[in-house]
């Protein structure tokens, strides 16, 4: 990492830490949402970008985590860490059971099978009313507690800092996975599955591990997404959620992790700024963004920035 690289990262971190001091309550809430969704989108980038496994059902595991955290808060414990841990674990469990089947299929079949699993989880949340509250969702969730007290996370600013820490932990985990020998093997499988197989790598096991890790982090982010508004409904895990995560990755740039976060920020800010204009024609705007990104920005914002950087470095 170059000296400027370190300086940029430290400056970004300082800005993120100081943000609630400068921003008003509403914008702090928005930034919290961006961090949560950004982590979710980054976990999908591990699958879609790094492992070459484009899942259309990632929102389902986000929802599994959110429901796990919310139901735990309602019926068992308000401890924030316990909720995150259980959410991550339950999402991992669902991921292993479905992933065993998903990783056997390739390409478009993988797309469609993950779509089916995501939709089935969504339908399950919608219909298992005694547990999930059906389409109304779960509400009246108590504030998550740290060290046995709810005063830490009651205020929006405090919740933001808690989310920032959780985000950094989750993001660091993803980064470690990507940079590890395991991550290199995933890249190898993405580029040439047959060769990795003949080199002795257990390809299905590697894919299943990648799928499970990505879905666990999605569940981890889901827990935060339930703790922030203290509410969760099936809308929060519908196909749209998975699609927006893909949009965020494509806008930001695949295979960068940070691109997924920047893309999420871009999506949330644009949607927030243009909500009046877009409320009637957001499909048109979204469609135009897709088309423009595909033709003009094939590597996303991060790729564009890197090209710009190279031009100036010359």
């Amino acid at each position: 990492m170059t000296r400027t690289g370190i300086a940029v990262r430290l400056a970004a971190l300082a800005l993120l830490v100081a943000a609630p001091v400068v921003l008003d309550t509403y914008r702090t809430f928005l930034l919290t949402e961006i961090l949560i969704f950004g982590l979710f989108a980054a976990s999908l980038d591990l699958l879609l970008g790094y492992s070459g496994l484009p899942s259309l059902g990632h929102g389902g595991y986000f929802g599994v985590g959110a429901y796990a955290a919310g139901l735990l808060a309602l019926h068992a414990t308000t401890n924030a860490f316990a909720q995150i841990l259980v959410a991550t674990g339950v999402a991992a469990g669902f991921a292993i059971v479905t992933g065993v089947f998903a990783v056997r299929s390739r390409g478009v079949y993988f797309l469609m099978l993950t779509l089916a699993f995501g939709q089935l989880l969504w339908v399950l949340a919608l219909n298992w009313s005694s547990l999930t509250g059906g389409s109304n969702g779960i509400f009246g969730i108590p504030v998550a507690t740290l060290a046995g007290s709810s005063r830490w996370l009651a205020a929006g600013d405090h919740f933001y800092w808690y989310t920032l820490c959780s985000f950094l932990v989750g993001y660091a985990l993803l980064k470690l996975v990507v940079l590890s020998p395991f991550g290199r093997a995933l890249a190898g499988i993405r580029e040439n599955e047959a060769r990795m197989g003949s080199l002795g790598y257990n390809v299905p096991l590697y894919k299943l591990a990648a799928f499970t890790i990505a879905c666990s982090i999605a569940g981890y982010a889901g827990a935060l997404a339930c703790q922030q508004p203290k509410y969760f409904s099936p809308d929060g895990m519908s196909f749209d959620v998975s699609a927006v995560a893909i949009v965020a990755i494509v806008i930001g740039g695949q295979r960068t992790l940070i691109g997924a976060v920047l893309g999420s920020a871009f999506y949330y800010v644009v949607r927030d700024q243009l909500s009046d204009l877009l409320s009637s024609h957001w499909e048109l705007a979204l469609g135009l963004v897709f088309v423009l990104v595909v033709y003009l920005l094939p590597d996303g914002l991060v790729g564009g920035a890197r090209r710009l950087q190279r031009r100036f470095a010359r």
Binding site: F101, R106, V108, L113, E283, L284, V294
Partner: protein, 300 residues
Amino acid sequence: MTAAAVLAANFFDQNFSSILNGVALGMLIFILAIGLSLIFGLLDVLNLAHGSLYLLGTYLGYSLVEHHGVPFIAAAAISIVFGMGLGFVLALAVWPIRDRGHLDQVLLTLGLFFIVADLVTIIWGRDFHTITPPGFLLQSKQILGHYYPSYRLAVIVIGLVIALVTYLVFERTQLGAILRAAVEDRAMVGALGYNVNAVMLWVLLAGAALATFAGVIGGPIEQVTPGVGNDVLLLALIVVVVGGLGSIPGAFVASLIIGQAESLGVALGQQYGLPQAAPFALFGAMALILIARPAGLFGK
């Protein structure tokens, strides 16, 4: 008759219209799925804008029949020409990114899908409409002791004819041989002196024309709404994947299964007090088939 046969006959009697509705829906989806499947097999493009072609076809049919007094059959014929035009536009849009990955093509065609869906609401609004079937098909017909709308029967017949013609063209003509070979190895067919690009363009035009045609004949069955493109695209995608990409017989069998999951699934769900069971039936059927056969029913 054994007890099981009696039970089956009773079940068939009770759910007669649901089962036939499922067949009609299946045929409609099949007409759409042929194009989707061939465009993927030959051009390697997963065309999510296929639902938009259906959508534009159905609104074109609605405008022509309901507002301009064009006879239904003429509107269906016009929609075929219209669809070929749209297919040409699609070819131009996809051409610059033909060598990029599937994800880019998915994004581009999904973007076009969103744009068309919104433009349709701008032009035609969000109201629900329907297309009146041609006069000679307005009556119900008695079949196996039940009355059933003759228009839906006609759709079933059209679907069967298209299935047969596609099968014969594919298996018995030289064009079919070139198409099958090109699905396997495009470069090799090109090396043999055939103009693969022209074949690919024609497949796109034909697939698009079938989709807009399906939009018109589907108008009287499915409603004419901005969301219908979404519904039929999802069903057609499921059919193509369940049947096995590039396989016409596979798409045919899968259409029948998915049509029943949609129609009979809803009917049985309501009979047994589970109104939301239909999505379970649909996605459950797809998940089960893909778990048992990861490359689809007829896939390799």
